[in-house]
Every structure is written in structure tokens, then in C-alpha cells.
Symmetry: C2
Subunit: 339 residues, 2 copies
DNA sequence: CGCAGGGACTTAACCGGAAAAGTCGGTGCC
DNA sequence: GGCACCGACTTTTCCGGTTAAGTCCCTGCG
């Protein structure tokens, strides 16, 4: 089937291509009657202006890019990205922007993708996830002048716009809550150490533990997978001075940790309290349900998308603080059993 | 920063635009020496041909579309889609095709998106998920002549290409396994009843139960969420003749079901055996680990993508059967406790 | 010696829109 | 009455590629 072009509309309306273009774009230069006629014909034959032709003339591709740099298996089990994407999507499709997705192997590949997208004018801007310390992508994007919004921070975003959440405050709140319950030996199973937000959380953990006079603030690095979360938990629980509470950097690891505790004969929350970062429905499906640090991730994505559209529209790059994760206590936390 | 165009390359190489085009596309018409010189200059100034200009001349957008019609929360927790996407991506990016993603509210919106994508020449083809009985999308895609691959079936795909997995056989295998263990009262918590593969599974369930002389093959419809899975499980387990085994249409509902069983004081697998369809790492993180029907979902996505590229390339639409899900027995299934 | 043939390019036309510049009939105004 | 101005279009140019159709020079051959 042949796709209708602007010339088809023009022919049927008995006017020139230019007139059709003006009519469709709400520009002056055509009478109201003619405009209505043209619009009716366009709708009738199902005309949609070619993105290619339009972006060749104008400058926008009406698409934004998102490159995800995580192994396939991590992407699957972590609800985070899919929720983020659906939030981004909601915002974009309301303005009929498309989302171009690409899964990449590493930062090198991601930078290459950005350069290509920019050169091909395939996207008008990009969303950047998983910020790292001294992130290579930031200077590249600045150099290219490709509009971008970093999802993460604070700090390390250079001159790029960003949306961030105060992980530090959320962590402090969690530790204070556990201490209020009576815990003194608190450990943490962290996410990928290379990620900036992991670093921020680790640093905040060290600080708050020192301030509250707790023993060493151990963070066992991990990679967000259940296996690694389980391994890290085994290590922690086998130690002579095993912790009475563990904070996990995502829900999958927390569930794995719960499983390990039960397998080692420890009662949760009696012998061990567990807190999960990121509150997905999964946290409520296990026994006991997990106390979790939740926030509205689709909204987070929507805010990032909205800001990106603003930057594309010419707004100056700003740093927007999003909601801080809040603690939802459930069955997995309690005062430590005194023996 | 100004993006380099083919004219910039031509100027620096001291040749015409045409020569550069021939050189870059491996066409005859330039000497080997000139070709190398042009290639070197293009690489040096970071030239990437504009997608828009290229697809305006040629015909391809070098992108495929995927519209997902599920509420945001379901999308997030179900690993299925993200795994599928990463598989699709792997195949596409190897051929430097982009994936355009759109989350839509309903089939109506999805059809509109297809029409728009087609009219805008934004994509060269689409992947269709969540096939329904008498699916509206199939005739529309056929009418438009937009290359498409349906992920699902068999049946209901009209003249479109498809990739499918024999859910019927997988379900029969599962029931036979449970019966071999000694179960006689088997129930099922199904996915969205409107989806064709739910229908196929339900029909297969009825058939195999009849064949094996089992009691009524009850399928409680659900929507893939943990809450609904829990509710359905409560209903089943409260019945006078409660089942000794339940098959769940996804892993999230199975985990919710496990949780409900434990909360009702039933031992798994002693009092109740549980089987989950779709084997994600989550199934191994709970206690007991869940017996699951697994298959390689990224590969499934990759096959679909490969077939779509073939259809775009002009191959006739074929129906490819993918791997059948296979049962991985774990701790959640055992012979029913005899009392 | 003259001419066909072919390699190596250049020129120009096109793809489908957007938008600047031009055309033309009608009006208001001095 | 003549002229500037305006609305409503049409014509033309441009965006950055691809590609058919030249152009030009060199070689081989009768």
C-alpha cells in the first residue's frame, strides 16, 4: 500500500503543497475554509507527514534516546528500569515523542551510540542512567552539545541537566530507624561499587554510623543479582560478630538475603532485620513482607523526560531534586532479640 | 556544535558528494585509493549520515517498533518484557537497527500508533505482543502492509509472520508430571483471559485433565499481578475440595500463591505443590524454590527480531516455532501428603 | 589514426516536507 | 485614480542523502 504524501493531499484539495503545509501546521496563509477542507482530506486518506522529510527540513527528530548499560539478566529481574521506562514513555507519548532504546555492553559502546545518534540526528536528546564517578559520558555529551538529562547525582553531572534523589538522606533515615529499634550492628549489601549512587550511599552509611557511634559500617559490594546478594549475605551472617540488621541496595538482593537467613536458621525479623531499597510489589509477596525504601519510579522517569524535553526546547540545564525515598516498615524489621 | 554532512567530507576530500556516497556505501565508481581517503576523512571528522536524509531517499528507517499494551505496574514486575526486549535489542543492534518503544493504554491506541508509525515512515516493521483472539491489530497491519512479526500463536496471526512456542505441550507435560507425582486435584491460576496464549493454555488444561480422568480442571482467571494471584489462590485453597497442586501463569503470581499458602498454614510442597510458568531468578530466591516452566526469553526475542528483519528484507512471512518451555523441578513440587 | 569502451568522477534529479519569496486580485485611503 | 497593502495562495529553495545520467580521459584495437 502506498503511503499518502503531502502532494496527494494537495492534489485532492486542488491546492499546492505549500498551502497544505501551512494548513496542517496552523500557520497563517490559508483561509479558514480551505484549512478545514485540507484537514478533512488529510484525515480521510490517513496522511501523516514523513518524519524523515520533516526532520530534514526542520531540525528535530521527535525522539529521545535511552541507552542501558547492564547485562541482560540484571535488566530483566530489576523492576527499576521497566518502571522508569514506563514513566518516561508516559511523558513522551503525551507530546508524541518516541523513545529509542538501546542495550549496550559497556560505557565505550554507549559513547559510540551517542555519537552515532547525534551524527544521524536520530534523537533530539538522551537520558543517561547509572552515573559513575568521573563518568566518561558526561564530557562527550557536553562536547557534542547533545541535550541530555542525567538520572542520578548529585554531583558528577558537569554542565548537564539532572534529576536526582537524596539517597544519602534516605539511608540516614533508615539507619536511624534501625538504631531506634535497638540495632547496633548494621551491615549493608551494596550495588555495583562503580556507580555513583552506590558510592553516595556507602559514604552516607559510613558517616551516619560514625555519628551514631556504631561499630564498623560494613558494606559488602555486590551486583544487584540474587546470587551475589545471597553470597554477600552468607558472608555477613557467618562472621563472628554478625549484624542484626542488613540494608540491601535493591529488592532482589533483599529477597535473596531473606532466603539465605531462613536457610541458615535465622528468624527474620527476630534474629535479623532486613531493609530493601526500592519497594516493588515483590517485597510484599515474601514472608515476612520486607520493610522497604520506596519511591515513585515512574514519576522519577516522567520528571526526567519532562526536563529533557525542556532542555531540548532550549531551557537552561537545571538540577532538579526528586522525591526522597521513604521507609515503609513491614514485617522484616523489629527490635533485635536480646539473648 | 555543527554536525558534519556529506558535503563536508566531500569538500575536505576534494571530490563531489556523489563520490563520497559511493565510497561510503561500497558502491563501484571510485578508485580504491580515493575510497580509502574518503573513509579516513569521514572517520576523522566523525561523520554519520543523517538517518532522515537517508530514509528520505531510500526507503528504510532502520528502526523497528514495539508497542506494549500493559499497565505500568505489570510491566515493571514481570521480567518477561524486559528480557524479551534485551533479546530483541541484541539482534537489532548487531545490524544497527534501532528499537522504538511505546507504551500504550489499549489496543485502540496501539493501532493508532501503528498507523502513525507507518505514515511517518518511522519504523520499517513492528513486533506484536500479547496476541488476542480475533486481534484487531492483525488486519490493520495486513492492510497497511507494514512488516510485522507476531510473538505468539499458533493461530490468529492471519497472514503475518510469527514466532510461537508450544504452550499447550508445556502445559500437558506439567500436568502429566504432577499426576505422576500422585496429584489428582490440580488447579490453575491463569493470566489475562483475553490473551490468546491464556486461552490456549486453558483449553490444553481442560483437554489433558479430561484425558487423564482428573476432576474438573479449574482455571481461575487473573491479571499477572501478585495481588490477583494471591486472591485467586485464597479462593482455591478455601474451597471444600482444595487442590493439591496449582499451576500459575507467571512467576509473580506463583510467588504470591506460595505466600498465601504459607499464611494459611499449608506446607509447600507437603500440602500444596506449586508450578510457575516463566522461570526467572526470583523462583530460586523463595523458600522453597519454585518448580518452573522455563525457556530462554531473550532468545525468543532475538528470533522474533531476526524474523522481522527477514520480512523487512522481503522474505515471505513464515511461522517459526521456538523452543517449548521445559519443566525444572525444584522444591515446590512433591507427591501430595496422604492423610 | 580513429573510435569504442570503460574507469573515475561530476552533475543533476529526486525523496517529502518547511518556509522564504513571489504572484495576483481586491481594498482602503489620500 | 493611483498606489500601498493585505490576504490567499503558488513557486522556489533548501535540508542531506542516493542514484541515474552525463563528462572526460585513457587504453586497446582494427
Amino acid at each position: 500500500m502506498k503511503r499518502p504524501t503531502i502532494a496527494d493531499v494537495a492534489r485532492r484539495a486542488g491546492v499546492s503543497k505549500g498551502a497544505v503545509s501551512y494548513a496542517l501546521n496552523g500557520q497563517p496563509g490559508v483561509s479558514e475554509a480551505t484549512r478545514r477542507r485540507i484537514l478533512a482530506i488529510a484525515a480521510e486518506i490517513g496522511f501523516n507527514p514523513s518524519r524523515a522529510a520533516r526532520s530534514l527540513s526542520g531540525a528535530t527528530a521527535d525522539a529521545v534516546g535511552l541507552a542501558l548499560c547492564r547485562p541482560a539478566r540484571t535488566l530483566g529481574i530489576e523492576p527499576f528500569f521497566m518502571e522508569l521506562i514506563s514513566g518516561v514513555e508516559a511523558e513522551l507519548s503525551a507530546r508524541s515523542y518516541a523513545l529509542t532504546l538501546q542495550v549496550v555492553a559497556d560505557q565505550e559502546a554507549e559513547v559510540t551510540v551517542y555519537r552515532r545518534w547525534w551524527g544521524e540526528r536520530r534523537v533530539d536528546g538522551v537520558l543517561v542512567c547509572d552515573l559513575r564517578a568521573d563518568d566518561r559520558r558526561v564530557p562527550v555529551l557536553e562536547e557534542l552539545g547533545l541535550p541530555a538529562v542525567v538520572i542520578g547525582g548529585p554531583g558528577g553531572t558537569g554542565g548537564l541537566a539532572s534529576v536526582w534523589s537524596d539517597d544519602s538522606a534516605a539511608l540516614v533515615e533508615t539507619v536511624e530507624y534501625l538504631v531506634a529499634l535497638g540495632h547496633r550492628r548494621i551491615a549493608r549489601v551494596g550495588g555495583l561499587p562503580a556507580l555513583l549512587h552506590t558510592e553516595i550511599r556507602t559514604e552516607a552509611f559510613v558517616q551516619v554510623c560514625r555519628r551514631l557511634g556504631l561499630a564498623d559500617a560494613v558494606t559488602v559490594p555486590s551486583d544487584y543479582t540474587g546470587e551475589e546478594g545471597a553470597r554477600a549475605t552468607r558472608r555477613l551472617l557467618s562472621s563472628a560478630t554478625r549484624p542484626t540488621a542488613v540494608i540491601y541496595d535493591n529488592d532482589v538482593m533483599a529477597i535473596a538475603g531473606l532466603s539465605v537467613a531462613q536457610e541458615m536458621g535465622l528468624a527474620v525479623p527476630g534474629d535479623l532485620s532486613i531493609v530493601a531499597w526500592d519497594d516493588s510489589p515483590l517485597c510484599q509477596l515474601v514472608h515476612p513482607p520486607l520493610t522497604a525504601l520506596g519511591r515513585d519510579i515512574p514519576a522519577y522517569g516522567a520528571h526526567a523526560a519532562r526536563q529533557l524535553l525542556a532542555v531540548i526546547g532550549g531551557s537552561p540545564a537545571s538540577r532538579v531534586q526528586d522525591e526522597t525515598a521513604h521507609l515503609t516498615p513491614r514485617g522484616s524489621t523489629a527490635p533485635p532479640r536480646t539473648n
